[in-house]
């Protein structure tokens, strides 16, 4: 016991020492350099990538000046990641997905974390945005009377791909509008009913996307819409960038890779905007009203907070970001289908918010990164490992089990639901405030109607914050 406390004290002192003063700068830069070097030299190593990504966390935690922090973060996101990303395009995809889902999770965080409204159909707004650009940015408007799957001769694009930029803004507006239209009737409901109704709304949107291929072919049904246009990237600009980028990457950067880079940066811009807006909102009058609603609705009404209007703001703000992200998603994939907008996606985004910390902006980003990396890299890596084992002649010694008899179905990559489920249960029971709890953490998920909540075991969960 004594030894342990002494050990703890020494570690803490060490961490303190390392995270302060000049040491911290050197440490942070050295760590980033190490991560970058590792990824640069062995582009396929998972551990190298994890070290690289975790340096973002290090930047967040060390006590260095704000300007230094910011510039290091920008250096990582804008310079280092694109270079290593182009060397192994899979990393760029991971980074893109992290950005997309971080933006979604930040949007959901406004609804769930700030205002305390559990939205289980969040992905519906994302779908609305995606289908908005999928419809106008493809040949679909000329196929209204066509049977899905056939390509009649008159099909053509109705607008140029550069309208994409306009549609990102439109997606914002349409998302907000959808949020208001849905929110108006249902926001009077109590928390758990609201959750189920939003879930229902999410399913409604998915079923509509699946079935609106008749009487007018709006969504092309289960087959989805493809191809969807992307904005054109000006060739002179690309050539100018190539001069710098090619030697760094070590080979010629293709146009497809430039599109990956473009969408990564676009997602990054949205994330930055969402972070800014979310932070400003949280500190504003609206944000305080949200906190009041989250803590105690009755008291909030008594204090003159316009309940429904404030909830609508939260819904609209969250939904608008999802709408904009949907447009971006549709353009980057050049394909949308109803399957991308299932209930599981909503729960995935929710588990990012819960894992990172409800209401906490850095937490939510970390949550998105962890879930995406678990999903895309760790589970897939395990799958790959297992399938290699399956092809080998290896046998587990004691129980005499040959790996090649292992069922194909036991593929970790297929068990995302289990991953989400475990995250949700474990976080709720052991750490309801998340990995990085929000600073002002006494929200709805901590204590609500304490009088009603009589706990027979005396185990009141008042959080860890």
């Amino acid at each position: 016991m004594m030894i342990q406390t002494r050990l703890q004290r020494t570690t803490r002192a060490l961490i303190q020492r390392l995270s302060q003063g000049r040491v911290a700068y050197i440490l942070a830069i050295a760590y980033i350099a190490l991560g970058t070097l590792l990824v640069y030299l062995s582009p396929r190593s998972l551990i190298a990538f994890l070290i690289f990504v975790s340096s973002a966390l290090l930047i967040y935690y060390v006590r260095i000046g704000k300007v230094a922090k910011l510039s290091l973060a920008i250096l990582m996101a804008v310079v280092l990641l694109p270079i290593v990303g182009v060397r192994n395009i899979f990393y760029l995809e991971v980074a893109f997905q992290i950005s997309v889902f971080a933006a979604l999770a930040l949007g959901l965080n406004i609804v769930v974390g700030f205002a305390g409204l559990l939205d289980l159909g969040y992905v519906a707004f994302y779908a609305v945005g995606a289908y908005l650009w999928a419809f106008f940015g493809s040949q679909q408007p000329t196929l209204l009377h066509a049977i899905p799957g056939t390509a009649p001769p008159g099909a053509h694009f109705v607008m140029s791909g550069n309208m994409f930029y306009l549609f990102v803004i439109l997606g914002l507006a349409v998302g907000a509008l959808t949020g208001i239209v849905l929110g108006l009737p249902v926001l009077r409901l109590r928390g758990d009913y609201l959750a189920i109704v939003t879930l229902g709304f999410g399913e409604v949107i998915r079923v509509l996307a699946n079935n609106l291929d008749k009487p007018l072919n709006l969504t092309n049904g289960p087959q989805g819409i493809t191809p969807i246009q992307r904005p054109t990237l000006p060739a002179p600009l690309l050539d100018a960038i190539r001069v710098v980028l090619d030697p760094l990457v070590g080979r010629r950067v293709t146009d497809a890779q430039f599109y990956n880079l473009f969408f990564y940066f676009a997602a990054l811009v949205v994330v930055v905007i969402v972070i800014t807006v979310a932070r400003r909102l949280d500190d504003s009058k609206i944000g305080r009203a949200w906190t009041a609603i989250r803590e105690d609705e009755v008291a909030a009404i008594a204090m003159g907070v316009p309940l429904v209007r404030m909830k609508l703001y939260a819904f609209a703000a969250g939904a608008s970001f999802a709408g904009a992200m949907g447009v971006l998603f549709a353009a980057s994939r050049t394909f949308v289908s109803p399957e991308s907008f299932s209930f599981m996606q909503s729960i995935g985004v929710l588990s990012m918010v819960i894992l990172g910390g409800i209401g906490s902006i850095p937490g939510v980003i970390v949550g998105a990164a962890v879930v995406i990396i678990l999903n895309l890299q760790v589970l897939q890596g395990l799958s790959l490992f297992l399938s290699e084992l399956r092809q080998s002649d290896a046998v587990i010694p004691i129980i005499n089990f040959a790996w090649k008899d292992l069922s194909n179905q036991l593929d970790p990559a297929k068990y995302q639901r289990m991953l989400f489920g475990i995250i949700l249960i474990v976080m709720m029971i052991y750490r309801p405030a998340g990995l990085i709890p929000a600073a002002r953490r006494k929200n709805e998920l901590m204590k609500e109607d304490a009088a009603e909540a009589l706990d027979e075991n005396g185990q009141v969960n008042d959080g860890t914050a």
């Binding site: 289990m418 489920g421 949700l424």
Partner: protein, 391 residues
Amino acid sequence: MLRRFGSVYLRELLRPLGQMIVFVLGSGFVLSAVMVVLALLMRGSAADKALLARNGTDLLTFTLSNLPQVLIDSVTLGFVYAAIALGYSMVYGVLEFINFAHSEIFATGAFIGVEFLIILEGAGRLDGIGNLLAYTWLVVAIILGMLGAGLLATGVERIAYRPLRGAPRLVPLISAIGVSFFLQDAIRMIESLTTGQFHRIIPTFGNFDQRIMLGNIPLSSGPILIGIQVKSVIVIVAAMLMLIGLNFLVNATKVGKAIRAVAADRPTASLMGINVNRIISLTFLVGGALGGAAGVLYALKFTRIDPFVGFFPGLKAFTAAVLGGIGNLTGALLGGVVLGMLENFAGAYLSAFTMGAAGAEYKDILAFAILILVLIFRPSGLLGEQVGQKA
């Protein structure tokens, strides 16, 4: 004294039976009348002509001739929903908590029952057996499903909900969603490990697939046969027995009194010497067992099950519970029957009435539309809350 008890028992057995008959006949009559009036109103409309051109019958004849079969199917589905809805309603009545994982409890029950029958089939015990034995095995399968599902529900409560009982409302709900997702993949993993496939098809045995013919309607385009499958009869009878049994348990026994007491006021019930934790466990056991039985019945009726089979029936059953008035057992029954009716009517008539623009594929979202409407205009449900109403 004895006679008084006797009359209480008899009343609690007969009352739900009477309610079922009233609900089924009432909602059936109302919906049929609505459809007929609609068909009359749309006489001569484009939809009418389109149908006449395609099938040779006008809308009114089409509606009337399909009505008996639709009603029979509706009742079957309605009772399945009611049996699942009771699980939601009981838990909600006692804990005021939406047990989101109930749909997976239902799926687990279905898998246990079906796996048992598959094992029997594998052992050759289902070949050419008589009706009596077939029914016995089916009953055993249902009981096993009930046991497994009930125990699972109790275990889930113990692990994932009880530690969170003091926490605010959304915390256990999120945990329940987690349980739901976890169980879906857990079932899939277990099922796919043995055969490489995660869906199961219930073995065919006994006379469950036969149709009892009730008559036919002669039409110019050929007679329409009206019949009911034996398995539908089994589903209806079994669900009725369960509903009556549950009603009896809750309203006529000492345990039931304890359940009602805990639902009404937990601290006071605890002061009166009721072991609240045990009653809550029991509630989950009973609710889970009903869900499990409903799962086996569902498998019997729809033959194919997979780990995600519980999702839609679960949501619809929840809708049914809310529609009837959540926390209220009679309400769950009414909600289930009404929702089953609405869904089957939509499935049967939507396509003909909208000229194929919107068909049976929209019946799944009909439930959500109803849910939203009920919650907006009558949040306490058709019958209002009688148990455990707290804001």
